[in-house]
Symmetry: C2
Subunit: 260 residues, 2 copies
């Protein structure tokens, strides 16, 4: 896999706690040989971005700028980018990028397999509304203690269950942030107490004879790094082919099939 | 919910161990008031079926005849029917019914929520092929000891995982048929040892940092009875509307939304 595969692709990851993912990307560099990882803690100037543009490929970790600022910078200098972000004004973000005609993959979740699971739930909710009517739901999620709010993926999955006919309020989610509970009750390996995302959804029929359970449990950040690499490969291909569509998400990356 | 809702709908259930489901349907009669349940252990003559046709609605439990024979009978006398069957020559079955232009719902699985889960897996496999490439799979299923073969639903779900890039052979499925293991390891309630269907699928990423788990666990038969009632309501509606499409499955029933 050579140089020509990665021209002009920036990666802007401003997900919470992304630094370990950056380290994972460093590891992946061993496999792919063409990433340059740049941490810009105090923001990035257009001039700097322009310089990156001359490099083979860039993984730009920019935590201080907002996603809108980053997108505006890339749009201004015409640098394609991959952005993993849950924050910001999504509509404004998309408009900024669309107006500039820059190529981009933007997604709130970079873990391909989690995106696939969520997409399946969304399709089920859309196609079979009310099919779990009367079922009760129990949701538990465990993340490193530093994450205060409920995971965005949990919120999205719950919204699917609501469409399927389940009555459930977001404040009923059981948030596990206590390391002792995480190890003993949830089964998080101790070495991942500072970086994990465990999710459990349990549905029960009104007469309690039927139950369904879904879990997606992530330790560390390698799933996000792997997904980011696939997004880079995907976007590089679209740039090379001068594809008409310019803004993509991880579902588009998934539809492309196995990238490596 | 009155008489006019159920005219001319027969239910032919020849699923394995269907009698408890029939009893569940008896219970549902209390709610709906219009079912007549007829057990025909030695087969049904066309004349008998014709007589049923004059009743409000019929639930016909016919275990001795094959699904093809039942379908031919119904087709001959023009009696719409709901058939839950995993057996027989599916192609011949569909051709027989299509040629007769009789209305029918035919499905290998009458449990709506299990059908919804399977459909979501199928959509995920079709849309995101290879997205779980390299993942390893572990499958466990527990049924009453009298069920010798692997569940059809398990086979269908595994075929989805194979499309998602997972390498797995059917003989790797862990079949639990020992009642002691079922209670102690799987967690089947003792009162359901003679009738249950528990399924667990566990996916693990190559570096073991990511895992996904899916479970669908059914005790007893009420889920099948509930699904059958919905199929009856659905089919009665189609008959009444003189719908152009005549042969349906449980996915069509699901798409119709909440039936009650």
């Amino acid at each position: 896999m050579g140089f020509s595969f990665f021209p002009f692709v920036n990666v802007l990851l401003d997900l919470c706690d992304i630094y370990p993912a950056a380290l994972q990307l460093s590891k992946l560099r061993v496999c792919f040989g063409t990433f340059k990882i740049v941490y810009t803690l105090r923001g990035t100037s257009p001039a700097l971005l322009y310089r990156y543009n001359r490099l083979d490929a860039e993984v730009l970790i920019n935590k201080r700028f907002t996603s809108i600022d980053n997108a505006e910078l890339c749009s201004k200098v015409g640098v394609p980018f991959v952005m993993g972000t849950t924050g910001g004004d999504r509509e404004k973000l998309h408009k900024t990028v669309a107006d500039s005609k820059v190529y981009a993959v933007i997604s709130p979740q970079m873990g391909k397999q989690v995106v696939a699971f969520l997409a399946a739930m969304e399709i089920m909710a859309e196609q079979f509304p009310g099919s779990f009517s009367g079922y009760s739901l129990q949701v538990m999620e465990s993340h490193q203690a530093s994450k205060l709010d409920t995971s965005g993926t949990v919120k999205a999955v719950i919204s699917c269950f609501q469409k399927l006919g389940v009555s459930f309020d977001l404040d009923e989610v059981q948030l596990i942030r206590d390391p002792v509970q995480q190890v003993e009750m949830v089964g998080v390996p101790e070495e991942y107490l500072l970086g994990h995302a465990f999710h459990m959804y349990h549905l029960t029929s009104p007469d309690r004879t039927v139950s369904l359970e879904f879990q997606h449990n992530v330790c560390g950040r390698s799933i996000y790094a792997e997904g980011t690499v696939d997004a880079i490969l995907f976007l590089a291909k679209k740039v090379k082919l001068k594809a008409e569509k310019r803004i993509y998400n991880m579902i588009d990356v998934l539809r492309e099939g196995n990238m490596r």
